[in-house]
């Protein structure tokens, strides 16, 4: 593969990587409300503006609801609009998430994953973004700072693509990645400018010669259903666009991105499916177990919306047992990725056994021994063909007798 750009390697936190990517894509408007652990991004954008490194109108809104609302207004006025949030902030703006996607506005948002109250907790889990899974946003997940950086750059292209025109949320684990320093390879500004291009809005409120009514009332005999169908089709088309953009990005950087990453999966008999930073921990355990000759592998989901059902079913169809690791839970149902993946495998001929592992809620540490525990029960299922526990909780403290 020929990589067009020279390498520029640095040490960045996840938040720093996202802020840098947001600077480089040269947005017109950034409307941000600070919240732990995203705050750092809001601060860095403000510092870029103060230092003349970023020519953006920075709107220091009074809430996340207003952050997303201002992004809606800005995007409808033909501007490239970005924001970032976490946790309660994402929930607070949830109403407007649906408006942004329903109005087909290509807003790019970073969400630094954090648990939801109560009890109040500032650490990582995925309850925030999973709660927004039906909001019509494309959702990308990032294992580390590098992926968060790369995902933000690609998010602009995906969101603004004429076949898509949907908002994109880039997720990254709070504190674990947002505040951890690691090696990140950056693109030079000029390559980013070239890669993301200029935003060409379909309509703009500022085009006063061509007036447009945005957000009309779809009355009793309206076209709501057809609008939603069009939105669903755009989401379906996003799959191809995400792959195309990923390929183009690979030719620029050497780092390739698809809908998910397969790790030692081809000849595996059991595997875990996982999002974000826990994938790194699991990969280490996969390597370790492989050295012992055990047939284990991993699938790291990058694109949660649109959910790559068919593609994942294809990649996982020959396995015997799959454990889905969810860092969030829908009480009364279980892990959301588990439920969706199990459904995706329904039409596979000899269905693998699929079990659920809930881990890391409220930032509970996820350690290699937890991954080993998951693989151990999957290997048992593979040997015996029996599922004893459909749902297990990794790393939870036992109740005192």
């Amino acid at each position: 593969m020929i990589i067009k750009t020279e390498r520029k390697v640095t040490i960045f936190t996840g938040n720093q990587a996202i802020a840098e990517a947001m600077r480089q894509i040269n947005p017109d408007v950034a409307a941000v409300y600070p919240i732990t652990p995203q705050t750092d991004i809001a601060e860095r954008l403000s510092a870029f503006v103060a230092d003349g490194l970023l020519n953006v109108v920075y709107v220091p809104v009074e809430s996340e609801h207003s952050a997303m609302s201002a992004c809606v207004g800005a995007a409808a006025a033909g501007a490239r609009a970005v924001t970032a949030t976490s946790s309660q902030g994402l929930v607070y703006m949830q109403e407007v998430l649906y408006i942004a996607s329903g109005l087909r506005l290509p807003i790019v948002m970073a969400n630094v994953n954090r648990a939801l109250s109560a009890p109040i907790n500032i650490h990582c889990d995925h309850s925030d973004s999973m709660g927004a899974r039906d909001s019509g946003w494309i959702q990308l997940y990032s294992e580390n700072a590098q992926e968060a950086y790369d995902n933000v750059l690609q998010a602009v292209r995906i969101a603004e693509h004429e076949d898509v025109r949907l908002p994109v949320m880039v997720n990254m684990d709070g504190f674990i990645v947002s505040h951890g320093s690691e090696v990140v390879e950056l693109l030079d500004d000029k390559y980013v400018t070239e890669f993301v291009g200029e935003y060409q809005p379909a309509f703009s409120l500022l085009d006063v010669e061509h007036t447009v009514t945005i957000g009309p009332f779809d009355g009793l005999h309206g076209h709501f259903f057809e609008h939603k169908k069009a939105q669903i089709e755009a989401m379906d088309r996003a799959r191809g666009v995400i792959l195309d953009v990923g390929k183009e990005f690979a030719s620029l950087t050497g780092r390739s991105y698809g809908l998910f990453e397969e790790y030692r999966l081809a000849d595996a008999e059991v595997a875990v499916v996982v999002l974000n930073s826990a994938a790194g921990t699991c990969k280490i355990v996969v390597d370790e177990l492989r050295e012992q000759g055990l047939p284990v592998g991993l699938l790291k989901l990058r694109v949660f919306r649109p959910f790559p059902s068919a593609e994942m079913a294809d990649a996982l169809r020959n396995l015997k047992a799959i454990g889905v690791l969810d860092r969030s839970v829908s009480p009364g149902l279980g892990g959301p990725v588990f439920a969706e993946l199990r459904s995706a495998l329904f039409d596979v001929g000899a269905r693998p056994k699929v079990v659920s592992f809930i881990y890391g809620l409220g930032g509970r540490e996820f350690r290699p021994e937890h991954a080993r525990e998951a693989f151990s029960s999957l290997l048992d299922i593979n040997k015996t063909g029996l599922v004893n526990n459909l749902v297990s909780y990794l790393g939870i403290r036992r109740r005192q007798p």
Partner: protein, 318 residues
């Protein structure tokens, strides 16, 4: 002064543009909102972008696939007209600075009292504090009329609404209405005014000032509502708005860079019952045994009037 008495010269000074808000909308006959919109938009000859929160005006003027707006328009949600227009105005600044937009454009919100006094209050406060160059107009019909006449914090004390029901244990709304202009003026924005469509010259002049203002401007405009205020003859709305002004219930004033000024002073303040009586929502106040409520209503009107005069440095005369 009646409309027909205005000198022809005055009307000639008003901008002649394509009517920005056109007939065919589904607002009720006699609705104040459309009159407010048309009078306010006479205040500028610049292109405008309009934003409405959810409400009567929004649902009635943009029934997909139709629109009454000849100007760019956006509706986003109920809570967030002020923050949505903040984003539009921010985009305007950004794209103007980058040379992608090359003309002067004005940004205006038309929101009801629900979207202003209540659910949209935080977004409004934020937008005012941030100093966006916008005109925020509240067409105040004093309740959630769009959902069928539920109380808001703009509903007058004693008024019947569907959530301040009249019964053996209740005589309508217990609480006095929020003084929104005082709240807005406390943000120290450059221009705040209260107006009424019964006094169009006063209203349009205030709109002109609001559009000329650099930074946020706020207009609080009374908007008669035939079904909500419960008056039989829909053509009487403007008359009612006039009575609200003449009784001192709805004084006309402005706050320009912190200076309060009464823009109209009735020769003699009429009793507030003149305004209350024709409205069905207050009919229970006129029943036997409720005289004390009328008295209290009058006392509150007088108290607020005197306070306003003091703020405006005007001597009390009537």
């Amino acid at each position: 002064m009646k409309l027909k008495d205005f000198p022809r010269k005055y009307w000639e000074t008003l901008p002649r543009h394509i009517e920005p808000f056109t007939p065919g909308h589904r607002l009720c006959a006699g609705c104040g909102a459309s009159i407010v919109v048309r009078q306010v938009l006479l205040g500028t000859d610049k292109p405008v972008v309009v934003c409405c929160p959810t409400g009567c005006l929004q649902v009635s003027s943009t029934l997909y696939p139709f629109t009454s707006w000849n100007v760019p328009y956006i509706h986003s949600g109920f809570v967030n007209a002020a923050s949505t227009i903040s984003g539009v105005e921010a985009a305007y600044r950004a794209l103007s600075a980058k040379g992608k937009v090359n003309r002067e454009i004005k940004f205006v919100v038309f929101a009801g009292d629900g979207g202003t006094y209540d659910i949209g209050f935080q977004a409004l406060s934020g937008a005012l504090e941030r100093g966006h160059d916008i005109v925020y107009v509240c067409y105040d019909n004093q309740a959630y009329m769009n959902t069928g006449i539920q109380r808001s914090s703009a509903t007058p004390v004693g008024a019947w609404t569907t959530t301040t029901a009249i019964g053996t244990q209740s005589s309508g709304k217990r609480e006095y209405e929020k003084d929104i202009c005082l709240c807005v003026a406390a943000h120290r924005i450059p221009y705040v005014a209260q107006a009424s469509p019964s006094h169009p010259k006063d209203l349009i002049t205030k709109a002109q000032k609001a559009f000329r203002t650099k930074g946020p401007a706020y207009l609080n405009i009374l908007s008669p509502c035939p079904p909500g205020w419960r008056y039989d003859d829909a053509s009487q709305g403007i008359k009612l708005a006039q009575l609200a002004v003449e009784t001192g219930y709805w004084p006309l004033y402005e706050v320009e860079r912190g200076i309060w000024r009464l823009t109209y002073k009735p020769d003699k303040k009429r009793p507030v019952t003149d305004w209350l009586k024709p409205q069905g929502r207050f009919s229970h106040l006129f029943r036997e045994g409720n005289q004390s409520m009328l008295l209290e209503f009058q006392q509150e009107v007088d108290r607020r009037w005197e306070e306003l005069l003091a703020r405006c440095g005007t001597a009390s005369a009537s």
